[in-house]
């Protein structure tokens, strides 16, 4: 049994796989049965995954009691051991269901067709090739009986199980529909004078076709339902089975599950990386697309992190295992996606509530319809020339009871809300899976719904929009220093700063190393706190620091001031360099933007979102960054602890706010926001706060998250339209509202066909989400580059703007 303990010591949670649920009403019943148990605090039942997640107080209620409560209302509960096993079992059960319903269909469909031909043999051209004996009512009854008692038996058994415990579900709708049609047909065959409509009202074809269409719906549903959970299956299939571990100088081939933290693992070209770790030796390119969504292989060298489940491409390397088993990034991602798929969005809770009460309402409506047509409708409106919709069958001989019952049954069959139960969870599952494919992890269905409704996105500046570490942006030599080159000035400054631990000094040293310049040793070095440094290097007295240092040492920097002020206006920090008492030039350092910040913000603007930047920096620096990336609004000089308050203020203005941050420093603001988006978690996805986790440090994934969420919610709404649309439109038709004008009634089998169509439309519509690709990915896949487009242009995966 997989039991996950929640934050508080007293609470525990368990996921129970529940079998036999087929509609939103079933979901409501299972939830109610579990919620009523003492000690159960929270229950979420998911129809698409067939699971019930229960939070409970251990000791007050036992898991066995939960199982019993579910069994008591007619559903089966199985054990859940491991996620992988669940997926295998779910697939096996689905295959069984497909086989079972397929066999039923194989039997019921041709026999129903024969019954239909027999029933309508007097119409159209049928008398020419349908033998007369096939129209014999007794024979039709004999043919219909095995259909009702064979494929139709499941509905009677399931509805009886539920009724024993006071539960009504859609099986009851089917059972009453099939049972009543069959019973009337039998009575009219054996006792035609009994007053049920006589031989003209032997609806064997109704009972048979009703069963066939419902079975067809079940079969198609089973066929399509499992495909929405393919994301989990795909992720699980990534889990490598074998690892090459170096122990005692020998290379052993072990099951990946047996790898221990600290083990030295060897990976050859073309092999999967078995667990997470750090590269110790070797060099290679690794395809991480399956985990991060990054389409280009990532280079790996000593000290780099590798992710279990990714594919080694070119070279061989050895790494030290740092995370194994359930701690690996892949296992955590699978868990998060599973949790998201098993959770329930607010819109789904509403749909479940409506559907849960729908069946009761429908039976009450069927009672009213029956009473109306029995006492009033039949005598006022019935016309013997009445026929069924899309059928030549006339109802001429039918009596008041038969007619009223017929309309009552049709209302029951047509209004089954089984598609409503699938509408939201199937789309949410597909959406969460699709997002995971692109390195975006939603922590729950509610996060998907909330993300789709966002109006404002706040970005933390440092570490989110910017790299979070200063870099050299400008090097400029004073015009009076003839012969001195930029690189020489930078190298000189780096030599002076070599021993410094100041971030600005480190930025200069890094920039020099990146340019491949030599850094000389200094003869003497002196740090002047708050001002800069002085050193003797290559027989020159070098000063590096701010205006104050230059002023104190009487260095004339007039020739550089204009340029320095312009750079400072851009939010850069300017350091002056003086050599032997003369201003030699300046070096500007700034926290630079991340590679895709500007592009991400442009895309967000295109989606119509307001983009806000929050930072503790002063207004000038903040505004400079904001200008570079195109921020709408800047919240500067905000202390870390006040960020959540700023989020609250925006929310108070009626905005739906997402906060994008690093997940550690910004945790309170992420929690306060409607959607907290934690960026660049790498392999530590489970530790992140926030509702949405972006595995890569690519801000464009915020856009991906928004697009996937919007596409998913669009799908949910379309599904709900299809699910409720059929019912809403067809119930009045089935109830005979238009009968006085049209003199047509909907036959139960047409009702069943429409109901099955509703379910199938919903599942097929959801499957269309599998074709969804975020704009970014679509553009990346376009082979030709055009001016102004963003494109991948380097082998290292760095995107540049043309």
């Amino acid at each position: 049994m997989m039991t996950q303990h929640t934050d508080t010591k007293e609470m525990a949670s368990v996921v129970l796989p529940v079998r036999g649920m087929s509609c939103a009403s079933c979901v409501a019943h299972v939830e109610l049965a579990l919620r009523e148990l003492p000690g159960v605090s929270h229950v979420v039942v998911n129809l698409a995954t067939g699971t019930a997640r229960v939070e409970y107080t251990p000791g007050v209620v036992l898991v066995d009691q939960m199982k019993q409560a579910v069994r008591n209302i007619g559903y089966e509960v199985t054990e859940k051991v491991e996620a992988e096993e669940v997926v295998d079992r779910e697939r096996e059960e689905r295959q069984q269901e497909i086989r079972r319903q397929g066999l039923y269909l194989l039997f019921a469909a041709p026999v129903s067709l024969i019954i239909m031909l027999g029933t309508f043999r007097d119409y159209w051209i049928l008398p020419y090739f349908v033998p007369e004996w096939l129209g014999n009512k007794l024979l039709l009854g004999l043919l219909a009986t095995p259909i009702v008692l064979g494929p139709g038996r499941q509905f009677f058994v399931n509805s009886f199980r539920g009724l024993r415990h006071g539960v009504t579900d859609m099986n009851l709708l089917y059972a009453t529909g099939i049972g009543a049609a069959y019973l009337i047909a039998v009575i009219n065959t054996l006792w035609p004078e009994a007053g049920f409509g006589g031989k003209g009202a032997t609806f064997y074809e109704s009972a048979a076709l009703l069963t066939t269409f419902i079975v067809l719906g079940r079969w198609l549903e089973a066929l399509t339902r499992g495909r929405t959970s393919e994301a989990i299956r795909k992720l699980m299939s990534l889990k490598p089975k074998v690892a090459r571990v170096l122990r005692n100088g020998q290379e052993l081939e072990l099951p990946a599950d047996d790898v221990q933290v600290g083990d030295l693992v060897s990976v050859r070209p073309g092999e999967s990386i078995p667990v997470d770790g750090l590269v110790l030796e070797g060099y290679s390119a690794v395809d991480e697309s399956m985990i991060t969504g990054e389409s280009i292989p990532v280079e790996k060298k000593t000290g780099d992190e590798v992710i279990g489940g990714t594919m080694n491409k070119t070279g061989a390397f050895q790494f030290k295992a740092t995370k194994v088993g359930k701690e690996t990034a892949l296992a955590q991602i699978i868990k998060l996606v599973e949790d998201a798929q098993a959770s329930k969005a607010p819109i789904q809770k509403l749909a479940d509530w409506v559907a849960g009460h729908f069946i009761l309402g429908v039976h009450a409506l069927a009672l009213l319809v029956f009473a109306f047509w029995f006492f009033l409708g039949y005598s006022y409106f019935f016309d013997p020339s009445t026929s069924f919709l899309l059928s030549p069958h006339k109802l001429g001989e039918i009596g008041v009871f038969g007619f009223s019952l017929l309309l009552s049954i049709t209302v029951l069959v047509i209004s089954c809300p089984c598609a409503v139960g699938l509408a939201t969870p199937s789309a949410m599952m597909a959406g969460a899976g699709k997002a995971a494919e692109h390195g975006v992890l939603f922590k729950g269905a509610d996060a998907i719904e909330a993300t789709s409704k966002l109006t404002t996105i706040i970005f933390d500046k440092t570490g989110t929009l910017t790299k979070g570490e200063p870099s050299v942006t400008d090097v400029s030599v004073n015009g009076s220093m003839n012969g001195l080159m930029d690189d020489e000035l930078l190298a000189l400054a780096a030599s002076v700063e070599k021993g410094s631990e100041h971030p600005l000094g480190e930025a200069i040293v890094r920039a020099t190393q990146e340019r491949g310049l030599a850094i000389a040793d200094v003869e003497s070095f002196n740090a002047i706190p708050g001002h800069g440094v002085e050193a003797r290097c290559q027989d020159h007295e070098v000063l590096l620091g701010n205006r104050k240092l230059m002023s104190d040492r009487e260095v004339d920097i007039q020739g550089l001031l204009l340029q320095a002020e312009a750079l400072e206006q851009e939010g850069k920090t300017v350091m002056f360099v003086a050599v032997d008492g003369k201003a030699a030039g300046l070096i500007a350092v700034a926290d630079t933007l991340k590679d895709f910040s500007k592009e991400a913000l442009e895309r967000l603007h295109r989606l119509g979102l307001e983009v806000v930047m929050i930072t503790g920096d002063n207004q000038r620096t903040a505004q400079a960054i904001a200008r570079q990336v195109g921020i709408d609004r800047v919240l500067a000089e905000v202390l870390p602890q006040d960020k959540a308050e700023e989020v609250r203020k925006l929310q108070a203005q009626g905005k739906r706010v997402a906060m994008v941050g690093d997940g550690i420093n910004d945790a309170p603001a992420l929690a306060q926001a409607d959607v907290g988006i934690a960026i660049g978690s790498g392999t530590d996805v489970a530790k992140e706060t926030g509702h949405v986790i972006l595995i890569k440090e690519d801000l464009r994934d915020v856009v991906v998250a928004l697009e996937v969420a919007k596409a998913t919610m669009r799908k949910v709404k379309q599904n709900l339209f299809w699910a409720f649309g059929y019912n809403t439109v067809m119930i009045p038709v089935a109830a005979g509202v238009f009968y006085p004008l049209a003199k047509l009634v909907v036959s139960p089998e047409i009702a069943a066909f429409l109901m099955a169509t509703s379910s199938v439309s919903v599942t097929l519509n959801t499957l269309l989400l599998k074709r969804f690709a975020p704009t970014l990915k679509r553009e990346e896949q376009q082979p030709a580059l055009t001016a102004g487009q963003w494109a991948t242009t380097t082998a290292t995966g760095i995107n540049i703007k043309e």
């Binding site: 251990p58 019993q68 006071g166 009453t176 009761l360 039976h363 009473a371 029995f374 009223s404």
Partner: protein, 87 residues
């Protein structure tokens, strides 16, 4: 099974879930049968008064009884469950 906690001790003062379920089920069924029976009888009486054929009267009363049971059972069961919890 339901009467015991994890340590194998019997719960004191708590009605076992199964027994409560059974009691609620029994009372609910009886209540629903009474309500549905009354409705079916009313239907039968009205249909007889208006001169409907016997088959229609009987068939209609059975259908009304069946639907009334289906409608009332969840409502009544939930009512009795709440009552039991209140006790």
């Amino acid at each position: 099974m339901g009467d015991y906690n994890r340590d194998g001790h019997k719960h004191k003062g708590v009605m076992p879930v199964e027994r409560t379920e059974r009691n609620v089920g029994r009372v609910s069924t009886l209540t629903c049968m009474a309500i549905s029976g009354a409705l079916a009888l009313s239907f039968f009486a009205l249909a007889s008064l208006l001169g409907y054929p016997v088959v229609a009267r009987v068939g209609g009363a059975v259908w009304v009884f069946l639907l009334s049971m289906i409608v009332s059972l969840p409502l009544v069961t939930s009512y009795w469950k709440r009552r039991h919890k209140g006790d």
